[in-house]
């Protein structure tokens, strides 16, 4: 039989066997609804947990030069930034107070940080340009505190005997996870200076252990083991792995369970349909249908209502999960449809093979 004829025959047979077709449709729909509303919700929850755990704040590894011994140099920061697991790395000094020099002593102080490394790794330019030596950027929220309407002016370090002034050349918004920079001023650290903190943002929190080993390795053999402290997302990464692993195992067992039960039910329905329609299959064999024709016919005749059921089940499952705000991605839903159809098809093969190999004479001579 060619495909067109096979499709026409399968449609006619599916329509003629309305009850089995409706049952196959319902079972496949139930498979998809159950899988999407349980496994899909689990997958969506897993995704949300992973996203939260994998936010930039949770991927931040901070090394502090506790005794300001000049351990965090520009070259060390550049090396950390070049790690394969590194998204970006910058060094920050301890903050110092700066004031608007035009207002003078009565001005409100705001914190200022010297940034070692690329400024673009810590802040996003909102207006103006990135600063050169002797220049600074002011955060949009610190503008008012400094008494500025526009990011133009001069700030000076308040408590130095010899004042150091910085011309403001633009404004910025801090990038995640440098939210603490939102209240002040940043400027490029002068050449040869060192930072107090190294902030290494990892590309993936699961790489925390490897990154921590590599960063500590950069410091070589320290005479004083207390000279640096490390704040690492290692535990968070382990927690992430555990949660994702547990949710994944739960999701897989639910998926296999619903597909398995669904496939079994489809097989029972198809087998019952074959027993009821055995005379029909025997007649087809007598009139020249090959065994292969019978298998293909039974397969397609099951898949037609299964496709309708799977698509309807996907729509209902998506509707349920959307109403609770835990809708899984569309690709996952189509994946479930494909798996449900595969399960329905695979479970049809055994009864179809039984039908194809049944003795047509015995069937035809049975009243």
């Amino acid at each position: 039989m060619n495909l067109r004829t096979l499709l026409r025959e399968a449609l006619a047979t599916a329509w003629a066997s309305k009850v089995p077709s409706a049952l196959v449709c319902l079972i496949t729909a139930a498979m998809c609804i159950m899988t999407i509303s349980t496994v899909g919700r689990t997958a969506a929850a897993e995704d949300q947990v992973a996203q939260r755990i994998n936010s930039a704040g949770a991927r931040e590894l901070v090394v502090t030069d506790k005794k300001s011994a000049g351990l965090i140099s520009a070259s060390l920061i550049a090396m950390a930034a070049n790690f394969s697991v590194s998204d970006r790395a910058v060094g920050l000094s301890s903050p110092v107070d700066v004031k608007n020099t035009v207002i003078g002593d009565g001005a409100e102080p705001v914190p200022a940080w010297a940034v070692t490394g690329e400024l673009e790794s810590a802040v996003r330019l909102e207006s103006g340009r990135y600063p050169g030596p002797g220049e600074a950027l002011v955060s949009t929220t610190a503008l008012a505190k400094l008494g500025l309407q526009h990011p133009v002016g001069v700030v000076g370090i308040a408590d130095r005997e010899i004042p150091v002034d910085y011309a403001i050349v633009g404004s910025y918004m801090p990038l995640e996870p440098f939210d603490n920079l939102s209240q002040g001023v940043v400027f490029k650290a002068p050449p040869g200076s060192t930072a107090t903190n190294l902030h290494l943002i990892l590309s993936d929190s699961s790489q925390a252990a490897a990154a921590q080993r590599s960063v500590i390795g950069l410091f070589g053999q320290l005479n004083d083991p207390e000279a640096i402290s490390v704040r690492s997302p290692l535990q968070l990464a382990q927690l992430h792995d555990e949660i994702v692993g547990d949710l994944g195992a739960f999701g897989r067992s639910m998926l296999y369970g619903s597909l398995g039960i669904g496939a079994l039910l489809v097989a029972v329905v198809v087998f019952a349909d074959i027993l009821v329609r055995r005379k029909d299959l025997g007649r087809r064999r007598a009139l020249g249908a090959k065994r292969n024709d019978i298998v293909q016919l039974m397969l397609l005749r099951t898949l037609i209502p299964a496709v309708a059921g799977a698509l309807a089940g996907m729509s209902v499952g998506l509707g349920i999960t959307m109403s609770t705000g835990t809708a899984p991605p569309l690709a996952f839903c189509f994946g479930v449809v494909v798996l449900a159809l595969f399960a329905a098809g695979a479970s049809t093969l055994v009864p179809a093979a039984y039908a194809a190999h049944s003795d047509p004479v015995k069937v035809l001579r049975t009243p």
Binding site: T5, R283, R285, G288, N292, D293, P360, V361, L364
Partner: protein
């Protein structure tokens, strides 16, 4: 050239069961109606299904157009059934979900005949057999005699050289039985078809050109 013959034929339903036909050798004459007859249990219907390549003999061969076919692969036997054999069953065995014309063209699906060509042939056959007016009906809406004529049309649709009929008049009244036998006799004479009818009905036996008693 022989159309249908059997040589040294034997058949057992089970390995240790009684052998039927006892090494039967017979050549069916083309253009003639042959009645297979004999007491119940002697294997009339079984021989018909062996001739139709639906059962495999325990010994011997069924030879169709000088080609031994009994031991051929299932796909080949199915192809031979679709192209060279026509079946008529006792109860007509029409698909209750198909219309009459769709039932008639069913064997053409397996023979790979174009649907429109098949529909044209079916319309002509139904016209010749006097059931054209019922072509859009379902089998449940026609009489037993009409159903058996439709079954004959279905057997003729692929223009087979052999028609095998299992008690085709068993459920019919005498008038309808005579009418169906007329059709068989015409089908045999018109195209030199070999027609084999398994029956125990004396009237059918009396109308047959040849009788093979088992």
């Amino acid at each position: 050239m022989s159309v249908l013959s059997v040589k040294d034929l034997g058949f057992r339903y089970t390995k240790d069961g009684e052998e039927l036909f006892g090494g039967l050798s017979y050549e069916f004459t083309p253009g003639k109606v042959t009645a297979l007859t004999g007491p119940s249990g002697r294997g009339k219907s079984t021989l018909l299904y062996v001739l139709g390549l639906m059962l495999t003999p325990s010994r011997g061969e069924v030879i169709l157009h000088d080609q031994p076919q009994s031991m051929a692969a299932d796909a080949i036997r199915s192809k031979v059934r679709a192209h060279q054999l026509g079946f008529v069953f006792q109860d007509s065995s029409l698909d209750p979900s198909r219309t009459i014309i769709d039932s008639v063209i069913e064997p053409t699906i397996y023979a790979g005949v174009d649907r429109q060509v098949a529909l044209d042939r079916a319309a002509l056959l139904l016209e010749q057999l006097g059931v054209a007016a019922r072509s859009d009906h379902k089998p449940g809406q026609i009489s037993g005699g009409q159903a058996q004529r439709v079954a004959v049309a279905r057997a003729l649709i692929n223009d087979p050289s052999v028609i095998l009929a299992d008690e085709p008049t068993g459920n019919l009244d005498p008038a309808n039985a005579a009418s169906v036998l007329d059709i068989f006799c015409e089908a045999a004479a018109a195209k030199q078809r070999t027609i084999v009818i398994a029956t125990h009905d004396p009237y059918v036996i009396s109308r047959a050109d040849e009788v093979l008693e088992l």
